[in-house]
């Protein structure tokens, strides 16, 4: 009872990525707390792969991740937005051309 008074230092937060099966990318599945990298992997196995959900796990400290900010959405993603020629549907091909 005496212990549970104020917030104290907690184990750092890790993000967890799981490869569902061979041939697929690792996908972010959630996060967890662990004292170090090895413990983070063990916890990730127990929390996120209790039913054969994965064949490989990555863990990385959340503080090590650099993310694009949604507020910068336009400048960051705009360059691809106006390059529609990168998409196959940009090109008009007659319907009777086979295997296209």
């Amino acid at each position: 009872m005496t212990e549970s008074t104020g917030p104290r230092a907690e184990w750092p937060l890790y993000e967890v990525f799981v490869r569902g099966k061979r041939g697929l990318n690792h996908v972010h599945v959630g996060s967890l707390h662990a004292a170090d990298d090895a413990m983070a992997l063990r916890h990730a196995r127990d929390v996120y792969t209790r039913r054969n959900e994965g064949v490989s796990i990555w863990v990385v400290r959340s503080s090590e991740i650099t993310a694009s900010s949604p507020d910068e959405k336009d400048p960051l993603f705009a360059p691809s937005g106006d390059k529609v020629y990168r998409h196959p549907t940009f090109y008009d091909i007659p319907d009777d051309v086979p295997h296209m």
Binding site: L13, G30, S31, D71
Partner: protein, 314 residues
């Protein structure tokens, strides 16, 4: 001036995301009340999973066979996992795990009142799987489409596992119903105790649930409490008939016009008494959680000290 204009733009973007039935993600701008509502709901949900380990954990050491023990262990471990998925989702809203744990232990945040009822016989393990997890499934399936991305994704994982919970419970009860008269009586007695508290899990009637409308406008909730309660009754009545138990409500009857079952009035005085802390096990549940937290303190500190030493040794 610009700050106000910016805020209006952000609100507009938020509203349009919700209107398109698209998801809000952690780093998006969101109204403060939306964030607060989510923290309260997800935390309540996470705490329920964690406290929910206790009533069933009570029977692990006394399971009637190795098979039942292995099943119950796996189920209680799943509840822990569900709590962790949900804490993880809640933390994306800018609250720390420690803060959430402390608020559970101080009573500042609630957990589902169903876990304040005791488990008096092994039949309760089956009844909890069937009725309590059944009610949880009714609640949780629509939450897979909730407007906050991390919450919806956590709910998808939870729902996949919840089906095992309900089925193991129903199967346990079916096995007992095929047994002796005494076993059948145990099942009926257990169902008598859990039926009404299970219906209370959907929360107060719509008229007394002031936040429902706003939560639905935000896409956090997809159905009202009473709609979900009705769905639960409609699902459960035929299951009870198959099982051969009587639900303790003489008012249950099929309503041809509504194509639904009518049912009696929940005892809302009991519901509010339990929510306010006067249920049979409120104190015991929180005391147990605090003890686990305090007893584990040295482990958390030792692991942290070890990690710090390894870090400097590198």
């Amino acid at each position: 001036m610009t700050a106000v204009a910016d805020e209006a733009d952000l609100q507009l973007a938020f509203d349009s995301t919700i209107a398109h039935n698209d998801r809000i993600e952690p780093r998006d701008w969101m109204p403060e009340d939306y964030r607060k509502t989510l923290v309260r709901q997800i935390a309540q949900h996470a705490h329920s999973e964690i406290i929910g380990m206790q009533p069933e954990g009570n029977w692990i050491g006394r399971a009637p066979s190795l098979r039942r023990k292995a099943i119950l262990l796996a189920k209680v471990q799943d509840e822990a996992g569900h709590g962790l998925y949900l804490y993880s989702a809640c933390e994306t809203l800018g609250v720390s795990r420690e803060e959430l744990t402390l608020k559970l232990m101080s009573g500042a945040q609630k957990y589902s009142s169903i876990f304040n009822y005791p488990t008096l016989s092994y039949a309760d393990v089956g009844t909890i799987g069937w009725l309590v997890d059944g009610a949880a499934i009714c609640n949780q399936v629509p939450l897979c489409r909730t407007s906050y991305g991390p919450y919806g994704r956590a709910m998808i994982r939870v729902c996949k596992e919840e089906s095992f919970h309900q089925r193991q419970g129903y199967e346990l009860l079916m096995t007992m119903m095929r047994g002796t008269d005494a076993q059948r009586e145990m099942v009926q007695e257990s169902v008598d105790r859990f039926w009404w508290p299970a219906l209370m899990m959907f929360g107060p009637p719509d008229g007394d649930s002031p936040n429902t409308e706003r939560s639905m406008a935000w896409g956090i909730k997809r159905h009202t409490n009473d709609e979900l309660r009705q769905r639960m009754v409609d699902m459960t009545v035929p299951q009870a008939e198959k099982l051969g138990v009587t639900l303790p409500d003489p008012d249950i009857r099929w309503n041809e016009e509504r194509q639904s079952y009518d049912f009696g009035e929940v005892d809302w005085d009991e519901f509010w008494a339990v929510v306010k802390g006067n249920g049979p096990c409120n104190e015991q549940r929180l005391a147990h959680r605090r003890k686990a937290y305090d007893d584990g303190a040295w482990v958390r500190e030792a692991a942290m000290a070890y990690a710090a030493r390894e870090e400097t040794a590198r």
